[in-house]
Subunit: 154 residues, 2 copies
């Protein structure tokens, strides 16, 4: 039984690293670049203006050399606890070409471990379905494995 | 010559009241209800959770008694200087049925007067056009007259 609404995709994991290390991996560009993309894609550039309304820019590169720019902004930043961002704005408060998703990440402290939850909310059920068919579970799953591995080494 | 982009509607006024009074009119429900709606519409209810991510709810009533609910959230709150809100979310961070607009209000202090600017940004040129055809300039114009009149009396 799913508790997801028809506009939401969710990933939950227990990760063997404390919240502070996972938060660092999400917010320090040099760390973000190491785990964010499932191979053969790479993250070649990351900008993090970590404050509500601050811009985020991630540039990925495919195996053919093609670049994919993912601009967005942060909406809510609670260090080591919560991070919310969306692609609905390019900067504060310039609307993007297409508001597609809002991600709500929570990092629940379980001592040396973290209950990590990524809720990805879409504006339409069609966009949720498209995101799922683009390989959300596989892509975020592999990326989260890489995140857990990196955080455990910090 | 207009500096508006094809997704933006703008209203600018010099108002004979200081920024703090205009800000109060925008953020205190009992004041908001007095000026927000051009007759014969009325604003019969207003909720203001004045913080980034806080919800806003305005309920208007038409001459036939029909109610129009306008939910949204605040994105940026700088007392007496700036107020940003959008209908893209119903609460932090639940996507609305349709992200239509983001309003950026600025209150520039000119002494006893204020340069008041309302920039209304849409996600599409079609939505901007629809908003203009719904009577944006007339509606916001009359409401702003009412705002100026109320603020001058505070």
């Amino acid at each position: 039984m799913s508790t997801e609404s028809d506009r939401e995709l969710t990933l939950t994991r227990i990760i063997e690293a404390p919240p502070a290390k996972l938060f660092r991996c999400w917010t320090e560009p040099e760390l973000l670049k190491q785990w964010f993309t499932p191979p053969p894609f790479k993250t070649i550039h990351a900008e993090v203006d970590l404050r509500p309304g601050g811009s985020s820019l991630i540039v990925m590169q495919g195996p053919d050399g093609g670049k994919i720019e993912c601009p967005g902004i942060y909406l809510e930043v609670i260090p080591n606890e919560k991070l919310v961002f969306t692609d609905a704005y390019l900067s504060a408060w310039e609307p993007s070409a297409k508001p597609f998703m809002t991600a709500i990440l929570t990092f629940d402290d379980l001592g040396d471990r973290t209950k990590y939850t990524a809720r990805v909310l879409h504006w339409t059920a069609e966009d949720r379905k498209a995101h799922e068919e683009m390989g959300f579970h596989q892509g975020w799953g592999v990326a989260t494995d890489q995140l857990a591995e990196l955080a455990a080494k910090l």
